[in-house]
């Protein structure tokens, strides 16, 4: 029996909904239950966005993850990873991009932001933009982060690959391969650094 409570974080337009769809599809394919709550509307336009994603072999009650009980925070932006720490459980992991998305005048010193992240007991921090670029396009930074989270998701890696093939099925083989490469690169990073 497996359950994962995941906070997905980022800035509007960074692609957290795609991550949610991929994990969600993979979970449903394995007959798991799922609840995912997301933010629309005024919270976009470059504002912070977060989504609660819960997958479990048991029926799930709440759409919202209680504070202090998330198994992981997956973030495409380092400052956003920190914003949701109150949700993280004591054993929980933070998997985050270290590349800042600086669209506010008072963005804190990036070194201090990264300092806060590396102080956390369980963290994976990588430059997903650079990794994605090597894999073919910076647009796949979100998938690199998903790959980095893959070893913590409690599901077979190929299930995520299948989900990517499904979610991007209309976009052509090139895009699919690019995303599979990005996923792999992220996953490799975590396996090396865990």
């Amino acid at each position: 029996m497996m359950k994962r409570d995941i906070i997905l974080a980022g800035v509007g337009g960074q692609g957290i909904i795609s991550i949610a769809s991929i994990i969600g599809y993979a979970a449903l394919e394995q007959g798991m239950f799922l609840k995912q709550s997301e933010v629309h509307g005024m919270s976009q336009r470059g504002g912070d966005v977060m989504s609660n994603l819960r997958i479990s072999h048991h029926e799930i009650a709440s759409d919202l993850i209680p504070f202090g009980q998330a198994d992981m925070i997956i973030s495409i932006e380092p400052l956003e990873a920190l914003r949701y720490l109150p949700y993280l459980s004591a054993q929980g992991w933070v998997i985050t991009n270290i590349r800042p998305f600086n669209n506010i005048p008072n963005y804190p010193e990036i070194d201090q932001v990264l300092g806060e992240i590396t102080r956390l007991p369980h963290h994976i921090a990588l430059d997903a933009d650079a990794t994605a670029k090597e894999a073919g396009s910076t647009k796949a930074a979100n998938i690199v982060i998903l790959g980095a989270a893959a070893p913590f998701l409690g599901m077979a890696y190929h299930k995520l690959e299948d989900a990517i093939r499904f979610i991007f099925r209309t976009k052509g083989d090139k895009i699919i391969d690019l995303n599979l490469n990005a996923l792999k690169a992220g996953c490799d990073f975590t396996e090396k650094h865990m």
């Binding site: 800035v11 509007g12 969600g24 449903l28 239950f33 799922l34 609840k35 995912q36 709550s37 997301e38 933010v39 629309h40 509307g41 005024m42 919270s43 976009q44 336009r45 470059g46 504002g47 912070d48 029926e59 799930i60 009650a61 709440s62 759409d63 919202l64 209680p66 504070f67 202090g68 009980q69 998330a70 400052l79 956003e80 920190l82 914003r83 720490l85 109150p86 949700y87 993280l88 459980s89 004591a90 929980g92 669209n103 506010i104 005048p105 008072n106 963005y107 804190p108 010193e109 201090q112 932001v113 806060e116 956390l120």
Partner: protein, 535 residues
């Protein structure tokens, strides 16, 4: 059975399609927009001629739906909670006329005001209008309730209100569809052709009829599959819980087993017998509502001398804001959980106008024009441009309700604040600005109205604007003088020219309309992508 992964909004739309919907009416509003969009994008809907284009506002939507119900067909009308204020007149009266074809009104509340001006609770409207209310606790129930609601509406000839919240609307989970799709109704007039004529003599009868039905609705609530009494051994406390808060309650107990008796409410008026049973059995009652304390007030009564009732009014739960599992844990006397504090260096990242947004250039031109006058003259409205209130623009001084920019500017001008400026978007203008402009014209009020025309309803995701291509004609038709309808191109390179034009119109002692026209860049992007896709 295959489970579809659907947002609450999508589950409602899918259910309506499966239940024989003939038309959906709406004006976009977060978090209700996706219901109508789901129907608009449905192949089944277009193949079956199901009406789904946007209405000019919630009132016109409500009335069109009532007309479709009059003609015997099943119809749904959707809005965000404040939209129900706009549609309140036809809504309240539709309870008196009653329905013919099934009619469901969906109102999406926004506790915690994620993207709204208030957190009003639509259940008040249902109670006010004396219509039954359905309030789902999850996406499956939302799906099932739509079928139930249409049947109910046709059986008792009454519109049914469905109340959801942001969390329900924008949360996804597995939904199992019903196996058969119901056919649409045939065109069928009401059996009494005077049913919808609310002349006093008829209205009085219809109202008595509605009042008479109230006890029937209570009986229906008592038998409803959506109201469940779940017994528990610990009678020191009974729990009444509504809608999605039910999930937060269950989250707090291992295997979702609550030791206390729980009355889960999904249909109103309240099931009297079940509430009575709880009052008899339990020493006190905790009422959990993700909205206003409506049931709590009802149970307490004016003096609160009867039952021992806890909830939002006595501080057991916070008085305002959205509920969550932690808030309930505290209310239940359980240990709260918390991760790590947010590090001090974390700052807010508020939404802002997209870079390249036409409104930015409009605001810079307007602010410069006003710079030698005293501050506080710009009345604005609801849309992306409301973000102009924030830094670095700080260009507007009000945002109250759809259309209020023009009428507030008029009132302020009447009071002597001259010049006064109204800033309103194109679709907000056709939603509720036109009538206010007419008032100003008839009064020759010295106001300058800027209609920011970005060609779309941008804030809710770029729906087509009912105003598209019509603004000058509308203004002319209402009586704005031709010489004082000015169209600008809000671009940096025309800044000085634009400032000069605004200055001229501010000096004019009557109504002028300035239309800065440039397409929303997100809409352009979407358009180009769609074109690319079709190639």
């Amino acid at each position: 059975m295959q489970r579809l992964l659907l947002l609450g909004d999508e589950a409602i739309a899918q259910a309506a399609l499966d239940a024989g919907l003939s038309g959906i009416y709406a004006y976009p509003g977060t978090p209700s927009t996706e219901i109508t969009e789901f129907v608009q994008n449905s192949k089944f809907a277009s193949e079956n001629n199901i009406h789904s284009s946007w209405s000019a506002n919630e009132k016109t939507a409500m009335e069109s739906a009532l007309g479709m119900s009059y003609a015997g067909k099943r119809t749904m009308v959707c809005m965000k909670h404040v939209g129900l204020n706009v549609a309140a007149d036809p809504f309240i009266n539709s309870a008196i006329t009653g329905a013919n074809g099934g009619m469901i009104v969906v109102s999406a509340d926004d506790p915690s005001m994620h993207s709204s001006q208030n957190e009003q609770d639509s259940r008040f409207y249902g109670k006010f209008a004396l219509v039954p209310i359905l309030e789902p606790c999850d996406q499956q129930e939302a799906y099932d309730m739509v079928h139930y609601g249409f049947d109910f509406s046709e059986k008792f000839k009454v519109p049914v209100l469905m109340r959801i919240t942001t969390r329900m609307a924008h949360s996804r989970s597995g939904v199992i569809r019903k196996p058969d799709i119901r056919k649409q109704n045939e065109l069928k007039m009401p059996s009494d052709l005077r049913q919808f004529v609310l002349l006093p003599a008829i209205a009085k009868k219809r109202y008595k009829n509605l009042l008479g039905n109230h006890s029937v609705f209570i009986t229906e609530s008592e038998a409803s599959p959506f109201n469940r009494y779940i017994d528990g051994p610990d009678k020191s406390k009974g729990i009444i819980v509504c809608g999605i808060a039910f999930n937060y309650l269950l989250e707090n107990f291992e295997d979702r087993k609550v030791p206390n008796p729980v009355l889960k409410i999904g249909q109103y008026p309240l099931p009297r017998n079940l509430v009575e049973k709880m009052a008899d059995e339990c020493d006190e009652i905790l009422v959990i509502e993700d909205g206003y304390p409506i049931i709590e007030e009802l149970l307490k009564g004016l003096l609160g001398r009867g039952l021992k009732v806890k909830g939002r009014l006595d501080g057991t739960l916070p008085r305002d804001g959205e509920l969550n599992p932690n808030i309930l844990a505290v209310a239940l006397g359980k240990a709260d959980t918390f991760g790590l504090p947010v590090p001090e260096l974390v700052v807010g990242r508020p939404p802002s106008l997209c870079s390249g947004c036409p409104h930015i250039d409009s605001y810079y031109a307007l602010t410069e024009t006003l710079s030698d006058l005293s501050n506080g003259r710009v009345f604005s409205d609801i849309g992306c441009y409301t973000l102009g209130a924030l830094k670095p623009y700080e260009a507007i001084n009000s945002c109250v309700d759809m259309g209020a920019s023009i009428t507030m500017a008029k009132g302020a001008a009447d009071a002597g604040l001259i010049p006064s400026v109204a800033v309103i978007g194109d679709s907000t203008f056709t939603h509720s600005g036109m009538t206010g402009l007419l008032d100003a014209i008839n009064d020759k009020s010295p106001i300058t109205v800027m209609i920011l025309d970005n060609g779309t309803t941008a804030m809710t995701g770029g729906q087509e604007s009912p105003a598209f291509g019509k603004l000058e004609d509308i203004c002319r038709g209402l009586g704005v003088e031709e010489a004082h309808i000015r169209v600008l191109k809000p671009l940096k390179k025309y800044h000085d020219e634009n400032v000069a034009i605004i200055k001229e119109e501010l000096a004019y002692p009557g109504v002028s309309v300035i239309i800065p026209r440039r397409e929303c860049i997100v809409a352009i992007d979407k358009r180009i992508r769609a074109k690319f896709k079709n190639k």
